[in-house]
């Protein structure tokens, strides 16, 4: 399956599909006949209703979406910069060019995300870069639950998607 050129689209589609599945399950759980829920962990037991299980899963899914979108976004930026740096392969002297290019490609992989974002300061609006950095902060908080990062600004799936996809869109329009 292909998802066009938007690197975030596959995770977004997965998120929306899962959300829809949750809604269907909740509708089923509202019926008297719960046989459709048999052989799943969604049959109400020990005071835990199907709805509360789904609501917990929904909240967890939102965090997982942010993690997944950030991973795709970061990978896109790294590969974009590596693509720009491909000219190093044709640098002179030729005997140095290949090794220099290889070193550059490896080095980019370990650059800090905020530094990578700042490389685009002449292309991407300052506020949009700020929002993207804040999504990274939130991503770090949900990934590590480090109490020192508790002051990370909060976000929701739609806003995170808009920020990161707009960032990519601006880069693309610059490149074309």
């Amino acid at each position: 399956m292909t998802y066009g050129d938007d690197p975030l689209e596959s995770v977004w589609t997965t998120y929306v599909t899962t959300q829809s599945s949750f809604k269907v399950t909740k509708k089923v759980s509202g019926r008297k006949d719960l046989s459709l829920l048999s052989k799943t962990n969604l049959v109400p037991v020990d005071g835990l209703s199907t709805t509360s299980l789904i609501n917990s899963a929904r909240d967890e899914l939102e965090d997982l979406l942010i993690l997944a979108m950030w991973a795709k976004f970061e990978r896109y930026l790294i590969e974009y910069i590596q693509g720009v740096g491909a000219v190093l392969d044709t640098a002179r002297p030729v005997s140095l060019a290949g090794n220099l290019h290889e070193k550059f490609e490896m080095s980019v992989e370990s650059w800090k995300s905020t530094d990578v974002i700042d490389l685009f300061k002449d292309i991407v609006d300052e506020k949009l870069r700020g929002h993207a950095k804040n999504i990274k902060k939130y991503r770090d908080y949900i990934a590590h639950k480090n109490p020192r990062n508790e002051d990370a600004p909060k976000t929701d799936p739609a806003t995170a998607y808009r920020v990161l996809s707009n960032f990519i869109l601006v880069i693309r329009s610059e490149a074309s």
Binding site: K23, S29, D125, K127, N134, P153, T155, A158, R162
Partner: protein, 155 residues
């Protein structure tokens, strides 16, 4: 605490009070009950403060929805309240000057185009962020609010 954070917190609390007052008007002709309590919000540098929370239930005291203040430290919005029902959740945000603008500039910082992060949000006010990739926001009014109650309360 920084004056700016204190002012922001105050504006947030006043904005919620106005929203909750509107909500009371919007559902006064519907047979629903409203309870207002408070919840703590911990937000550096403002610290911990109490913010009002609204619980809407039917006449049998079955939960329809809660309006839960999230805070002012929100990416891409000035502050946020979540509408949480037994079946779903919706995100309501407030923009003091409309949704964030994104400027397309050149190296000389000449602005060539301005778009907004969310379409349909040019004015200050409360908006529903639609959970779609299209990036639309809808201004909150009575009709939309009643629709959202239905959405979060029913399977």
């Amino acid at each position: 605490m920084a004056d700016e954070a204190l002012e922001r917190r105050q504006a947030f609390l006043e904005s919620i009070e106005k929203l909750f007052s509107l909500i009371r008007q919007w559902i006064e002709d519907v047979d629903l009950k409203i309870d207002e309590t408070t919840i703590p919000i911990d937000e550096p540098p403002a610290g911990v403060y109490q913010a009002p929370k609204l619980t809407i239930s039917d006449k049998k005291r079955i939960l329809i929805a809660e309006l839960v203040p999230v805070g002012t430290n929100i990416i891409g919005a000035d502050w946020r309240v979540d509408m949480v029902g037994p079946y779903d959740k919706e995100v309501l945000v407030y923009w003091v000057t409309g949704a964030p603008e994104i400027e397309k500039t050149d190296r000389n910082e000449t602005v060539h185009a301005v778009t907004r992060l969310f379409k349909g949000a040019e004015q200050p006010g409360w908006y529903l962020i639609e959970d779609t990739k299209l990036g639309r926001a809808r201004s909150l009014n009575k009709e939309l609010f009643i629709d959202l109650l239905e959405e979060v309360a029913n399977p």
